[in-house]
Amino acid sequence: MKLYEYMGKDLFSSYGIAVPRGRMASTPGEAAAVAAEIGGEVVVKSQILSGKRGKGGGILFASSPGEAGEAAAKILGGTVQGLKVESVLVEEKIKIDRELYLSITVDGSAKKPVLIASASGGMDIEDVPDEEIIKYHIDPFVGLQPYAAREITRRIGLAGPPAGEMNRLLPVLYKVFREKDAELVEINPLVISGDRLIAADAKVTIDDDGLYRQKGFPRVEERTEAEQKAHALGLSYVQLEGNIAVMANGAGITMGTLDTLQHYGGSPANFLDAGGGTGMEETAKALEILLETNPRVILINIFGGITRCDDVANALVKVKKEREIPVPVVIRLVGTNEEIGVGILKENGFEAYRKMDEAAAKAVELANRH
């Protein structure tokens, strides 16, 4: 779950990490009030779950409360990077002497947290050459110890008061990362402003699987309505542009199904992974979600392991009995209780394929026939 910048900064602040003074606002009036409270020049930043807002016109400067209100009015309700802006963060404009980059994330290869830092921060961090990027892997049983912080600071090349600030910041940032089940904590830019280090941005992603033990976070929703509905059923769903609705069980086989469809010239309407052990009721609901996308064909590809073929067949029959299915359904069904499932389908007028490629080819043929 991604956090909005203002939430990430609130989180940082609660750990004693310095952030610019400021507050979230949902209306131009609120924005002007926050600007008045801060005094002087302010920055008005659109709150969306994406980076590169600066280049997208999502960050404006203002030198009075009136200007701040106007800036907020320009941004609020509009879109930045294709995302609707519902709130802004109004904060003091800080003096920037230098911009650094700092983050901690999970390194799947090393199977450890990795701290990434660079003396060259700011918008173009992805173009900074590898030799200017510092990577430090953290043993989860040891944590980020003071000596490691000093070594990272040394490699960044800091000296004087900002070096001391960095030595203090690094273990705290790891603490946030660990205690909050974060997959990512990123500060870009981390600004040197006089003697101080200030987190001028905050990008925090909380591990969805860790949310059950992370109380006190507002729930941020990034999914479309259909995706939310699928998620509530324990299904993984992504909307796509095509006209063949797809349901399979397992992320890999769902991807394989899409690949096969495209191979035969078809165009998938969605990615729906029904998971490994979904029962009859969930399967029926998943079908409902597919139908709502108004596809030309539905392709169901089930390789039964934990999922039982008879459950899938019964679910299909149930949906058919409850409502009309206005488009053809192509089913591939093998695995656990395959014979029973195929029998149920036949009795109810569905044809079942044993081979994935044949089923995919058939679905493409039907979609293109219209």
Partner: protein, 289 residues
Amino acid sequence: MAIIIDENTNVIVQGATGNQGRFHTRQMLAYGTRIVGGTSPGKGGQEVEGIRIYENVFAAMEDHRVDASCLFIPAPFARDAAFEAIEAGVKVVVIITEHIPVHDEMDIVNFARQKGATIIGPNTFGIVSSGKCKIGIPSNRFFVPGPVGVVARSGTLTYEIVANLTACGIGQTTVVGLGGDRVVGLSFVDVLQKFEKDPETKAVVMVGEIGGNQEEEASLFIKKMSKPVVAYIAGKSAPPGKRMGHAGAIIERGRGTYEGKVKALKEAGASVAALPFEVPDLVRERIGI
């Protein structure tokens, strides 16, 4: 021969009294797996499918040599259960559980490294040494002995490919599910190394996915392998996965795409199937059967 587990592997099932644990204990027994016990706190002394239930792994090990453990433990308790098995001295820990927090996964894998244990998963279908031992959840019917080692990131896609192989008369030495999560115990390279050393394995099928850079790392090892590798990479047409901010980009540095993975594998000498059902033909071609 086979890798990691074989007909002499003694297995316990952690969480054997739950629905999943009970069902798959029965399935594994039917496959011929030597299950010597199960665990379930507070239920020591009961029986499930004719198997004795113990309070914990330590108690089971008072009665049996235990080589491997299979976890059917809900995500919030999986870290603790895995630690228990590792500290008790179990050398192969298969974690079926999905949705384990990634910090817990890092803890598990690093604790296992310290103690010299092998973690399979989390979020894996498990591991099958065909005809000898199955630890995990795939259905029993498709796994038959033969000359091909299989290593995969995702479950059902692997069943698909294994079933295709079996239908074409190509059996498997061992089929390893690495697990679908970002942090898992084994990488492709770890398993390829074992297959390279296993005398019965004549070729390896590797089932990858877009994202991450495991397949690219595997390519470096494949270059040095004496045995042929056939790969399929899922996700050619998949929507882009979520990205971990700039940090993710810095780690991946352009790796992780379908095209990049296929290029790396082909340059390393692997055959790459465009679609899952092309795998058996490519295997035939490479081992000349």
